[in-house]
Symmetry: C2
Subunit: 464 residues, 2 copies
């Protein structure tokens, strides 16, 4: 650690209240990217970031895309050290079911959580507005103290991460020369434990599919047609049921063909992480792993693929009762992929599985929602060890290398299109309720996250 760090950390501590106010201002903008009704709010959130970055002296601009705009900012100050590209996203998940929120998702507040820790509540506080601002605030403090950053930094924030990033690939292809750096930094992951920092080296891929089963050409009265007419709710349920075997594995033909076992050394390391299956499942009210029998929970969520029904609907779903046989029933289904699996092949296998099980008088239509392979980040690159050391310094606990069940498609695209590896460093907690009602980000995640980035910036600047 260089001598430059301490005054920056002191500056962070002295100005944490202002950092928090900026986070709250950004959270107040309801930038839900999946809902077209919030398009203007997405642009507003992007512009907020541009204004903030330009105000700090960066060369910042909002870049239009076919969807929500990108934010790109370059620091022109540093002339030495590696060049890092920091990526985050300013869009957030929808908030339904809104009735389960205990306060307005877009009116953030600082409250005491059940464990006595201070929490910042609101949609996007953790995923990803709080996380991305830890980096922005670390750079702000460094510049405030030293005038220039210790290494070259480019910022990239997108507004479509929660809706499959449709504009990201064309944008990377068009602006690759401008964005290419020595290493990418992504802050969209959890810590291993409340006080155990971690860097992710494995991310599952994702294939999203929406399917609609159509039977009759109109909704029917179940008294007049009940049993004689094919019911798409029943058909869809039977198809969904057929996706899983009784042992918890996925029943699609060829699904596991390209799945490799994790290397023995990695498996050994996972066993030594002290992971509590009971604690993990117990935190959400569960006790029994539902995935492949004979696999540990860490395997189930990190190194084994899965199929999840994220949404399904058909017929009458309001109050009371309606004796209808609907014309259509639909589901949103996602597959988490592991290293080796090809999203194109998995999507095709799923569709073939459905089509082979379609009874008489039914048609099916499919709509793709994103597809990306799993990612494995090399653990022997020049940046990982210094970053781990910096995190260890801040948290006074050894930083660990872990896997993740989630998917961050941009990491694969950085590698594929720009030739960059990524360091996945995040400060979220497993109980942050991202994508759920009552999302929160611990003040400690935010504050020590900023401090962590100050140390990581310093450590990476020293890499030759």
């Amino acid at each position: 650690m260089s001598a430059a760090v301490d005054p920056v950390l002191a500056h962070v501590d002295a100005h944490i209240g202002e950092s928090l106010e900026r986070l709250m201002a950004l959270v107040r903008i309801p930038s839900i990217s999946t809902d077209p009704a919030y398009a203007a709010q997405c642009t507003k959130a992007g512009q907020w970031l541009v204004d903030d970055l330009a105000g700090q002296g960066y060369d910042a601009s909002l870049r239009q895309t076919a969807g929500h705009p990108m934010v790109v900012a370059h620091d022109k100050g540093a002339t030495s050290g590696p060049h890092v590209l920091f990526y985050g996203h300013y869009d957030v998940q929808p908030v339904d079911p809104i009735g389960l929120w205990s306060s307005d998702p877009f009116e953030p507040a600082l409250r005491e959580g059940p464990d006595g820790e201070k929490e910042i509540t609101g949609r996007g506080t953790s995923d990803d507005k709080g996380q991305l601002l830890t980096f922005v605030e670390a750079c702000r403090a460094w510049k405030a103290v030293h005038g220039t950053l210790p290494l070259r930094v480019t910022f990239l924030f997108e507004g479509e991460e929660e809706s499959g990033s449709p504009s990201l690939l064309p944008f990377l292809d068009a602006t690759g020369d401008e964005l290419r750096a020595d290493v990418a930094l992504v802050c969209d992951t959890d810590m291993w434990g409340p006080d155990t920092p971690s860097i992710n080296s494995m991310l599952r891929g994702l294939v999203g599919e929406e399917l609609t089963i159509t039977c009759a050409d109109k909704d029917l009265h179940s008294g007049m047609f009940g049993s004689a007419a094919r019911n798409p709710n029943q058909v869809l349920a039977e198809i969904i049921a057929s996706l899983r075997n009784p042992d918890g594995s996925v029943a699609i033909e060829g699904f596991y063909d390209d799945v490799a076992e994790v290397p023995a050394a990695v498996a050994e390391q996972w066993r030594n992480l002290g992971f509590s299956e009971a604690g993990y499942l117990g935190s959400v009210g569960l006790k029994t792993p539902a995935g492949e029998a004979g696999r540990s929970v860490l395997e189930q969520i990190w190194s084994r693929p899965t199929c999840e029904i994220n949404g399904m609907w058909g017929g009458y779903t309001g109050d009371g009762f309606k004796t209808v046989i609907p014309s259509k029933a639909s589901a949103k289904i996602s597959f988490r992929l592991v290293s080796g699996q090809d999203p194109v092949k998995i999507r095709a296998a799923f569709r073939a599985h459905v089509e082979a099980r379609l009874p008489a008088d039914c048609t099916v239509s499919f709509k793709p929602h994103g597809g990306s392979p799993a990612i494995t980040v090399p653990v022997d690159g020049p940046y990982l060890a210094p970053a781990l050391a910096a995190l260890t310094d801040e948290w006074n606990k050894p930083a660990v290398v872990v896997g993740s069940g989630g998917s961050i498609p941009v990491v694969g695209e950085f590698k594929r299109r720009l030739g960059m590896d990524t360091l996945l460093i995040g400060f979220a907690r497993i109980d942050d309720r991202i994508h759920s009602p009552n999302e929160k980000y611990n003040l400690k995640s935010f504050h020590k996250g900023i401090r962590s980035w100050v140390r990581v910036l310093d450590a990476l600047a020293a890499v030759k």
Copy 2:
């Protein structure tokens, strides 16, 4: 047919335009009984009927219940002939999916249908506002011509038929002496064909159930928990799939225990009805009967019980995609029962079936939505033959005795609580799209329905 009929029929023809205007006025009141937001509109529709009946000189009143009010009206004019109780319902089904309506469901219009016939469009035009007004208008015409009705008439209109009639039983128990008549008339059924009148002698019963499966105590991110956490969408789909056997029969233990085959004579009569399975299914875009293998479509919808998934939902169902594992998933499921089946026993068997299939970490809650046994109307009573003859006169085609897959619980309650049999006479058509978008009632159903009731009133008045 008595000489009294012809001038009444002429009056009906001369004033059909005014009758139509009254139907449209009633349809304009959005009396959706299942949705609490429309409670005031239900009362408004009931009051509209009271005002109309009182204006014709009946002793009419709105009777409060724990739910939507009842309309009761007595004709005090006739002193001879049998006493008939006419039952209908002024409430209507919800209108979703609203996007599939080609015009406002509550702004009725007279249009030419694809077959060149004039249709009255709008929610409730057929079920049941149009149907109930055929009787009201027939009585109006009779009184206008002759001053008094040819037999004693009591009107009973409820506002909760589409939501399980929760207030009907207590009301029948409390006002049975006032309502008891020699025979009940119910106009909530179809004609056998576009020009073939019919009287229904069998109605299936109905058991409605809503179930909710709960797994985790909050919505989860499918990346972080996918495969390790039990997904209630998957559990619900597997349970729904388990309700049916591959041969189309219902797989609940004991479901068919009390189901008898229809008598050979009835089966023979059904075979002679000239029913076209291809035409029936083809009218809604289907070709293949989905019910029990080896059973005709008429058996499937009239004399065999079934289980239909009327609604199911869980997780994210909006635009775009959300990688959530929901905490809960729900379904609305109805059972159509046939003669011999006990609603209480069937409900219990269904719940036991679900509970036996609940995997680890899941709980289920059930909510009942009505339950009524099937009805068989005797075909040898004093009123059936004269009514069939009257219908035959009006339509110039022999009226037939048929079954029905639908459920009209009030018919069973009239028998059980008031000792009355019922004549089920209706003029709806199979393609009226009741309970669906773009509901309509043919002008011919309405006009000749009124004329039919004029003849039936005359015929029943002559029964000693």
